[in-house]
């Protein structure tokens, strides 16, 4: 069976060249960078080289890069670390309602520990309003954290504007660039941010490695304690193969960025055009232009997302509904809810995210399979154009039980 992977926003296959680097640093240059002998020094040198490579991807200085175990840890370190370093362990944090759970749940954790958090709304395209950010800033605001590109609908936020307004009031800005860095041009200085989270496995690097950019002078405390690794900000023996692999992935991403962007955008547009032509009642989610080039998030009316995904999966096509990280749960995506999309529509949302390995044939195969899947499920659905949904009177006994 043909297998077509269209879930690159969830994770990517590791580039063969990247895997080769990982193996080299597992089996050959395997030393502990803290060791003073030759094995250790080789590893140390390699890690510092990798730091420079990753820094260059986002226009940072090598000393401003701190390796972590992934995007989630980078988000946690940024937010918890800045909060911990804040004067009296209390204060105010500003974020948005469409952040990844790594940011949202960290904010909620801090809320329980005494911090105040403002969760800013977004417009129908999932966009945060910089003026609202500025208005939300208080005297005790210790951090603003707004993502660069949304993992679900692909919307790119006006971070440069947010950071400019924040800088005027002296508030540091963190941005979760996990979906952006390596996929679109990102520059910490042009954006003007103070902290930025990166992850390797979204750009053809391995899972389990990420990085936090911290602008020099930013007050931040470690959250994982132990040895003096990563200049005291993140303890733990460095994941040398992961770090070197992430650097290789970053290097390739930087070198091939224009081609990759053009390639995925062309496939994405071919897909959207074909889908809209073949299937009625499909809507694009997210911003029409300020969006990641590889993201096609759509809502297919009158069908439920998982049933579409399962049918696609049966025919070898991998896509996602909502973000992969939460697809094990039944709650409708918090991102689509925040964008004001009605529940019956958001339940039919699907995310197709393209990658460097996809081809036009992949797209054409999906355009062959998907319309008939949708047609079959629509035929099975009690909802549909013109049909009025049953409404409250059809209430079910189980409604009060919540949803698992």
């Amino acid at each position: 069976m043909r297998r077509v992977y269209l879930d690159h926003a969830a994770t990517t296959p590791v580039h063969p060249q990247v895997a080769k680097v990982a193996v080299q640093y597992m089996t050959e240059t395997f030393g502990n960078p803290s060791s003073i002998h030759c094995f250790g020094r080789e590893a140390r040198q390699a890690v510092e080289g990798a730091r420079a490579t990753v820094a260059s991807l986002i226009g940072a200085q090598p000393e401003e890069i701190y390796f972590t175990s992934g995007g989630t840890e980078a988000d946690n370190l940024a937010i918890q670390g800045v909060a911990l370093a804040a004067a009296d362990g209390r204060g105010h944090i500003i974020t948005s309602q469409v952040e990844h759970h790594a940011v949202l749940h960290t904010c909620e954790f801090l809320e329980k520990r005494g911090f105040d958090v403002t969760y800013l709304p977004v417009d129908g395209h999932g966009m945060v309003d910089p003026d609202q950010v500025a208005r939300a800033i208080r005297k005790d605001t210790v951090l603003i954290t707004v993502m660069l590109a949304n993992n679900e609908v692909g919307t790119i936020q006006p971070i440069a504007d947010i950071a400019r307004l924040a800088r005027e009031k002296g508030v540091p800005v963190h941005t979760d660039a996990v979906q952006a860095a390596g996929n679109i041009p990102v520059d910490v200085n042009r954006l003007g941010v103070d902290l930025m989270s990166l992850s390797s496995h979204k750009i053809y690097g391995p899972k389990g490695t990420g990085a936090l950019y911290v602008r020099r002078g930013t007050r931040i405390s470690p959250t994982v304690h132990g040895g003096a690794h990563e200049r005291g900000l993140r303890a733990g023996t460095e994941n040398v193969p992961g770090i070197l692999a992430m650097a290789k992935a970053s290097e390739l991403a930087q070198a091939e960025m224009p081609q990759r962007m053009a390639h995925v955008a062309r496939l994405r547009d071919r897909f959207l055009k074909g889908l809209m032509e073949k299937v009625p009642d499909v809507r694009l989610n997210g911003h029409p232009t300020a969006r990641l080039p590889n993201n096609a998030s759509v809502s297919v009316l009158y069908v439920e997302g998982e049933s579409v995904l399962l049918n696609l999966d049966l025919q070898g096509i991998a896509a996602s509904s909502g973000s992969a990280c939460t697809s094990g749960r039944l709650e409708p995506s918090h991102v689509l809810v925040a964008m004001g999309i009605p529940h019956d529509i958001s339940q039919g949302s699907l995310r197709f995210s393209f990658g460097r390995g996809n081809t036009e044939e992949d797209v054409d195969y999906v355009l062959e399979v998907l319309p008939s899947v949708i047609a079959r499920l629509r035929a099975m659905s009690p909802l549909g154009p013109g049909k009025k949904q049953a409404g409250p009177a059809g209430g079910r006994a189980g409604a009060a039980r919540g949803r698992g």
């Binding site: 049933s307 009605p342 099975m380 009025k388 409404g391 209430g395 079910r396 698992g404």
Partner: protein, 161 residues
């Protein structure tokens, strides 16, 4: 994630469709939860002679809908009322835990359809109709439920429909 049996019913669901002149129609769910199931039944001599469903929902919702129709066909109304959501899940070889409460409601839909049928029978028989203002027999998805006086437990679904 899903058992083979679930996938088999999901892939080849039995008894999909509507019964225009159904004796009873029942619906559960709403799009906030993610699943809507509607059951149509035909009753002959106290037995479920025919049953069809329409479902908007995930794999589990479709598979349980299909399974319940298979389990119930030919059963007496009393027997059908004994089939629970749990019976359905077991017949499917189990469901993922997080699907047990949300998508495993096909038996509830069946029971609604039977109540609708019993209510209509009663109405077309002897008793008064004061309690049934605003419901028209045979209109899909309305009917029995209103009588229960149970509504949406505060969820803001109205805006979405």
């Amino acid at each position: 994630m899903y058992s083979e049996k679930v996938m088999e019913h999901f892939t080849n669901p039995r008894n999909v469709g509507e019964i225009p002149d159904a004796d009873g129609v029942g619906q559960v769910g709403n799009p906030v939860c993610g699943d809507i199931m509607r059951m149509y039944i035909k009753v002959r001599r106290g037995r479920i002679a025919d049953i069809k469903f329409k479902t908007f929902g995930c794999g589990a919702a479709i598979a349980t809908s299909s399974m319940v129709t298979e389990l119930v066909k030919g059963k007496s109304v009393a027997e059908a009322l004994e089939i629970s959501n749990r019976t359905v899940a077991e017949a499917l070889g189990g469901l993922p835990p997080h699907k047990m409460h949300c998508s495993n409601l096909a038996a509830d839909a069946l029971h609604r359809a039977i109540q609708d049928y019993l209510g209509k029978k009663k109405a077309s028989g002897a008793e008064g109709r004061g309690a049934r203002v605003g419901t028209r027999a045979g209109r899909p998805g309305r009917g029995g439920a209103a009588k229960q006086g149970r509504r949406w437990s505060g969820r803001r679904t109205g805006a979405q429909t």
